[in-house]
Symmetry: C2
Subunit: 235 residues, 2 copies
């Protein structure tokens, strides 16, 4: 069991543990820049030099607001939500520890969606002014940024795979994706806490909550997973 919080499992989710800096996508940036990105990041930086926290259901930022920073998720889970022209909101991404949030705002300078914490979460902040200053001084940092954005494109292109095909494939794909991403960060990918509601999953996979519920039951009946409410164990 890879989880740091093993004593607490399965009550505690993987995402409740802060991941190591080395496992974060922001690490290449942080490593080549001193002081640490979070030091003096403004009034949000409650504990100087470290990640600051936001409670469940809090907004990290809202669509349309000027983007001032990109954020690394140290702990917890967040979702990106977009309001479609027709007015209904849709979950377009979930953000796990180690992910970087806010990269899509570099082009327009404004956030393209709401980002909301699904559980108490901890974040590092990299102000854009600092980012641009550094990348002018350090070409290799600029290159790291390009790689970061590029892999975000690849991921965004892979994701629609989850929204295709039969329902059980989508749900299984969704769970597998979460699991793989946690493992990639050195967390436990077999014992998950679904910090998002069924409604969030349904919105993300473009299904109904009843269908999510039924499909999870079917997967449980076939002994591929063990779900009880928001606790999920892969077999």
């Amino acid at each position: 069991m890879k989880n740091n919080c093993q004593a607490m499992l399965p009550a505690m989710p993987s995402t409740a543990c802060a991941i190591a800096c080395e496992a974060c996508d922001l690490w290449t940036i942080c490593r080549s820049s001193r002081p640490p990105v979070t030091r003096g990041a403004g009034r949000r930086d409650r504990r100087a030099g470290f990640a600051w926290q936001i409670p469940a259901a809090a907004y990290l930022f809202r669509a349309g607001r000027p983007a001032r920073a990109v954020y690394g998720v140290r702990q917890g889970t967040l979702k990106t939500v977009r309001i479609s022209p027709d007015g209904d909101e849709r979950v377009v991404a979930f953000h796990l520890p180690g992910d970087v949030v806010g990269l899509d705002a570099l082009s327009t300078g404004r956030h393209s969606g709401d980002v909301i914490a699904l559980e108490p979460s901890a974040l590092c902040e990299l102000p854009l002014t600092r980012l641009h200053g550094w990348s002018a001084e350090m070409p290799e940092l600029a290159r790291s940024m390009l790689q970061l954005l590029s892999s975000a494109i690849t991921e965004a292109w892979n994701r629609p795979e989850l929204t295709r095909g039969a329902v059980w494939q989508r749900v299984e794909g969704f769970i597998g994706d979460l699991s793989a991403r946690l493992e990639k960060r050195g967390l436990d990918g077999r014992h998950l806490w679904l910090s998002m509601s069924r409604a969030d999953i349904a919105s993300f996979l473009d299904l109904r909550i009843e269908t999510i519920s039924r499909t999870l039951r079917r997967l449980r009946d076939s002994d591929r997973i063990d779900v009880r409410g928001r606790r999920l164990v892969l077999q």
Copy 2:
């Protein structure tokens, strides 16, 4: 009618015209760098200093191959295809004049999908070595690149909207997307040539070709569009 090739319409598609450099996403890069990106771009550069051409059905590159450049589409249409683990191929993107192809390979150094021309197309090539060299010298160019990649992320996040909801909404959304993208480049967005097959559209929207056919017919019956084969006029 905005199209340069107006005399030939509706027989000739918008995409058959080379767009102005200023309308291309690569323009910010090209403008701040001399000589033009295509000059001396290697043996592919048939007409020195200009876009080179590939015939319909030709591969621009294949998945897994080392990425040597990013490409700007000057003319024509291409598709990006991925082979899923299960072995079936899926169209994940269509590339129109002005789009930049190959950005997703910057992270891994290898292309993540096949890119195939849907009609005779013209491309500009920006070798990665040159790109990295320039961005080290010119910070503002590095910043342009970041913006380019960032907007690609935003687009990739928007795209799944097309794969959601009722069928007629997907098909209408698909057509509207093509139209809007052509208009953005100064081409005619109301008289389209569907250079992709029904099978490509179906793969992209995760529907069956019969459904595409029936839905287009229904849209035509409701006078929202006029389709005949691959020719399409928005009302």
